[in-house]
Homo-oligomer: 336 residues x 2
Amino acid sequence: MFLNVAVDTAGGDLGPPAVILGIEYFLKKSSSTNIHFLLFGDQEEIKPLLNDAILLKKHCTVIHAEKKIASDAKVSDVLRQASETSLGMAIDSVAQKKAHVVVSSGNTGVFMALSKIRLKTFQGIDRPAIPCFLPTLKGQTLMMDLGANIECTPKMLLQFALMGTVYSSIFLKKEKPSVALLNIGVEHSKGVSLLQEAAILLKENKHIDYKGFIEGNDILKGDVDIVITDGFTGNISLKSIEGTSAFIYKIFYQYLSKSWRGRLGYLIAKPVLKKVFSILEQRSYNGAPFLGLQGLAVKSHGHSDAIGFANAIKVAIELSIVNLPQLVEEKLLESI
Amino acid sequence: MFLNVAVDTAGGDLGPPAVILGIEYFLKKSSSTNIHFLLFGDQEEIKPLLNDAILLKKHCTVIHAEKKIASDAKVSDVLRQASETSLGMAIDSVAQKKAHVVVSSGNTGVFMALSKIRLKTFQGIDRPAIPCFLPTLKGQTLMMDLGANIECTPKMLLQFALMGTVYSSIFLKKEKPSVALLNIGVEHSKGVSLLQEAAILLKENKHIDYKGFIEGNDILKGDVDIVITDGFTGNISLKSIEGTSAFIYKIFYQYLSKSWRGRLGYLIAKPVLKKVFSILEQRSYNGAPFLGLQGLAVKSHGHSDAIGFANAIKVAIELSIVNLPQLVEEKLLESI
């Protein structure tokens, strides 16, 4: 299978260098040669970078974009000019079937809004959502939405639960994965009324194995397969998890390096410790699709570096190969 | 100084045994003998437990309460009967100056509402909030609200920032601690409009050193002294942090115990590792006051075990000794 991957090189805090190096890093690790990259962005910026990206240089086309979308741009302000921006052009290439997938580390809100307009959502789905698999004590748990929709109605949370069930059944191979709603307590009276209404919708839906509310400290226990939340709360929760992991990693090394006991113990246990920290390594979880779209769009973390971006490319290619939108559509048709 | 500490023994998931054992544990560690505990709850349940709590037995009075408040009770449903419940009676003892402080692991919403009614907030403060000091790479950061107010107006967030500034200046001895608002991005356009309005209020207030928005992954970096958020988001964030810490602790030991390298490395580095994990030990952070009240009320985690409850008692006594409400009032008068 030959794949065209559209990349918005202008998105992300680290700009084109992280994107270009990231793709090169991916190509070095990958055995596949039948992938072609469409690099959207400022050609004056991209071309010199390709001199240090020998593999990518052989497998890419640079498509000049006059404009780029700022990380703090508001959706309403950029819609009109979108088709001249690197992100808009990259999304359009998927809409026009010139590319199988689009990848960007850019402004989440704008990426989501443009993807929704150009690639369309499936029938029965109002808005796409961002899922993420988290490592847990029992395997992996899917959490969504992670930032695409900062305010959600109970109906949207129901749709996320349906999409999460489909996505999870595809990737975790579970027939009917269990679902919980993220809340500040497990009792039915807890939280905002919107969550209580959503709980009723999830409970009544026969395609969802609804288990009730879940609290933030229980997500990584892995007792439920899917944690559903609005994009604001999900984003805060995910980033709190990432920040804690990074914090522990740092104080761990700080303390171990301070004494001979620490240094010696570390040397001996190094292979084991490396394994533990690779589980927590947030960069290896970078890259998530906008679930619910008829086309494939993969969001990479705004802060992601080259290694993180390489992982987003990997996710984009894996999802293209299985044709995620088609799989989701088939499964959704059964349950909506 | 002689202190009377009112305790709601019925609150918390583990009930009276965790509470009684927790106080006993505190007394064993403490050198102070001039503390008297008023134990509110079912005397038939409490009295047998005191047989295993020799120190507490000498320093307590059991006050029978006919009723207790369920963990899933709604505020509106229990207000009328509150004065017959262990929690309501314990709070009343502070209102009537019979106790210096009340401690409970019970229903946060009810505890907050009753405390507000009986103990009153300071002038200029609409609702009390729960603060918590978190360990960071640079020391400690105060986060609030952690669950007392699930929906907040921009004005409430401003009041939290003022109270946080006061609380932080008392405990971290910083003249003007820096403040940030928890959000899903740092750009001014990010998040819900309520946060953007709050940002303007915080920026305009000369008593607050406002630094802008902060994301979940940056909280534990310690770059700002105070992180302000509504109680829903704060609760989710704090519990996500706690859950991650517990998760890492578990997989860490799981992996280390699986191989001889892991076991040997652990044995050698044990004193260092113990220190790292004691920083992360959530039980040692249990116990937080409702900030903004004219009387002292300390909330203990609903899940807290005896060791966690012992720490809440320790916090309650420390805050009583410094007379937190008076300190807060003096400082607030300067800034409202």
